[in-house]
């Protein structure tokens, strides 16, 4: 996202955030699925909501859509309460499965949905835009999974929404379909449409989002650009035994990001571990040196805490 686009999009909405969550929690019985989320998403941003299954992504999205009420906290969508934003056709969502009647035709489904809004795009335009004009008279039940997904998009774009929420949008798409899909989403984002998509693939989030919000166990654990999130995940870890290690000295070494001292054992996280290892072996009495790679997935697991037991997360 460039600042220029941001300013442009900001003007059209007179400064109100696309999504604003303040201290939002959601309990299901004794289980707290969302544990206090503060989040502001600016108009025109493409934001990935990244996290493992059960992190609270869907619960949070349901709250933004007004499908469920937060237990505590405040929710505003484009300056309105969620239901009000929906009633104005400002918010749409595409779910991964279901949500279609098998015995309606494709055109009937779009007409039906269109008739519920005060203002919509012409049905034929929407069908053409989604590339489903050719199957307009086919029963939805006879459409392939991909065709049904395109129909869901056609329905979501009918009201020309200012905010689009997508749940695992490209599941089941091939590489080409994925690329076409995201370039269409980007084009729409340039006119100020905000997109929030839930995914559990870091790679997809990094490739297509301006910003990644990492959520785990109902809390936001990281929030930044793809490279910022990846930096959290990059590098390797050196483990060595040192007599009387000085954490301050070690932390000042080139490329060292974090130092942890456990008695005689030091754990160093660094981008250029070779240089650090060379220093340790030549300039200090370090021994039992080990270098381990911390992969992206590994870092992701560390950040999201998915490797720990989840006794109370949904």
């Amino acid at each position: 996202m460039t600042t220029e686009q941001l300013a442009l999009a900001g003007d059209t909405t007179q400064g109100s955030a696309a999504i604003s969550l303040r201290g939002v929690t959601k309990d299901f019985g004794s289980v707290r699925a969302v544990r206090g989320i503060d989040l502001d998403i600016r108009p025109g941003e493409i934001v990935a909501f990244l996290g493992p299954n059960g992190a609270g992504k869907t619960s949070t999205i349901d709250i933004v859509l007004g499908l469920s009420q937060p237990t505590q906290g405040r929710v505003e969508v484009l300056g309105h309460a969620p239901r009000q934003a929906i009633a104005r056709g400002l918010v749409s969502a595409v779910m991964q499965t279901g949500g279609l009647l098998k015995d309606l035709t494709v055109r009937e489904t779009v007409e039906y949905t269109a008739s519920l809004f005060a203002d919509t795009q012409p049905v034929d335009d929407v069908l053409a835009h989604a590339g489903i004009t050719g199957i307009a008279d086919r029963k939805v039940g006879k459409c392939s999974g991909g065709e049904q997904q395109r129909l869901r998009f056609a329905m979501a774009l009918l009201s020309d929404p200012a905010l689009l929420l997508l749940d695992e949008p490209t599941t089941g798409m091939d590489v080409e379909g994925r690329r076409a899909f995201w370039s269409a989403i980007r084009r729409d984002a340039q006119k100020g449409r905000t997109v929030l998509f839930a995914t559990h693939y870091l790679e997809e989030a990094d490739q297509y989002a301006d910003r990644i919000v990492l959520i785990s166990r109902g809390r936001i654990v990281a929030d930044g650009t793809g490279s910022e999130i990846k930096a959290l995940a990059a590098g390797r870890t050196i483990r060595a035994t040192l007599d009387r290690p000085d954490a301050d000295v070690l932390a000042r070494l080139d490329g060292v990001e974090s130092v942890e001292v456990r008695g005689d054992t030091v754990l160093l996280h660094a981008k250029d571990t070779d240089a650090v290892a060379r220093y340790l072996l030549t300039e200090t009495g370090a021994r039992d040196l080990e270098i381990t790679a911390r992969g992206i997935e590994d870092a992701f697991l560390t950040l999201t805490g998915a490797d720990e037991p989840q006794e109370d997360a949904r």
């Binding site: 109100s16 499908l67 484009l78 929906i86 279609l100 774009l157 006119k191």
Partner: protein, 260 residues
């Protein structure tokens, strides 16, 4: 799609909670396109009328009309009850399919949705009643004054709401397409028990059992203009069963809000 920037401040809320004629048209078309619905709710009751309404006693007097008129009114109720119940069962099926959730992402308000479904049940009920009544006119045997004829048809229509509620309730208990498999035979059984298909001798043990079943009350009510007789227990029966079905439907619906 438009190439202009999106301006959220210009958006309007649709009138009537999003309810409109396009939706009613598509929903109606949808029901009439379903072959099973058409056969069981429109063709079958008319066929039953031709079968039962031509008995040897067809011209005996009943209240202000004859036996054929009595059978015709009963069959119209049966047909309308089936359409309403299948319409109700569709509400539950739509929830199972996630369609109701999809609708929640549109301006259509939940109240407008329920009103629309009730209206649809009434329209289809009216179609079912008209078909049986038309069969009666074509056959020529039923006889009752026009105002009685109309009054019976209207009362029957009102009574079908009981079965719309039953349809929603059963649709939740037996999800998916199986609901009609339960409702079809179930309503037939209730119709036998409820004095709809075959007259049950008043005061017999069978009759006492029958008077507690859900078809009994509405059948008496819908035939009241013809028989000129509206027993209090019939009205009580209709009201109590309506309350039970509505409560049951509301109870299952509220259990279902977790993922709407």
């Amino acid at each position: 799609m438009s190439t202009t920037t999106i301006d959220p401040t210009t958006r309007r809320v649709p009138p009537f909670g999003g309810m409109n004629l396009t939706v009613l048209r598509i929903e109606l078309l949808r029901m009439l396109r379903n072959r099973r619905t058409v056969i069981f709710t429109l063709v079958f009751p008319a066929a039953l009328f031709f079968a039962f309404g031509s008995g040897s006693d067809w011209d005996q007097t009943v209240g202000h009309g004859n036996v054929a008129a009595y059978v015709m009114t009963s069959m119209a109720l049966y047909g309308a009850a089936l359409t309403a119940a299948s319409g109700g069962a569709m509400v539950a099926m739509e929830r199972a399919l996630g369609w109701s959730r999809q609708l929640r992402l549109t301006p259509l308000s939940p109240t407008a949705y329920i009103l629309m479904k009730a209206l649809l049940a009434l329209v289809l009920g009216a179609v079912a009643i008209s078909v049986v009544n038309l069969a009666g006119v074509v056959q020529g045997k039923p006889s009752m004054p026009l105002h009685v004829w109309v009054a019976c048809a209207v009362l029957t229509l009102v009574c079908t709401l009981v079965f719309a509620a039953l349809g929603v309730f059963v649709g939740y208990l037996v999800p998916g397409e199986n609901a009609m498999q339960v409702l079809g035979p179930g309503l037939a059984l209730f119709s036998f028990l409820g004095n709809v298909f075959i007259p049950i001798t008043e005061g017999s043990t069978m009759w006492h059992v029958a008077s507690l079943t859900p078809m009994f009350g509405v059948a008496e009510v819908s035939r009241a203009p013809l028989t000129g007789d509206l027993p209090w227990y019939a009205v009580l029966n209709a009201v109590v069963w309506f309350a039970i079905f509505v409560a049951g439907a509301a109870w299952r619906m509220s259990k279902d809000t977790a993922r709407v």
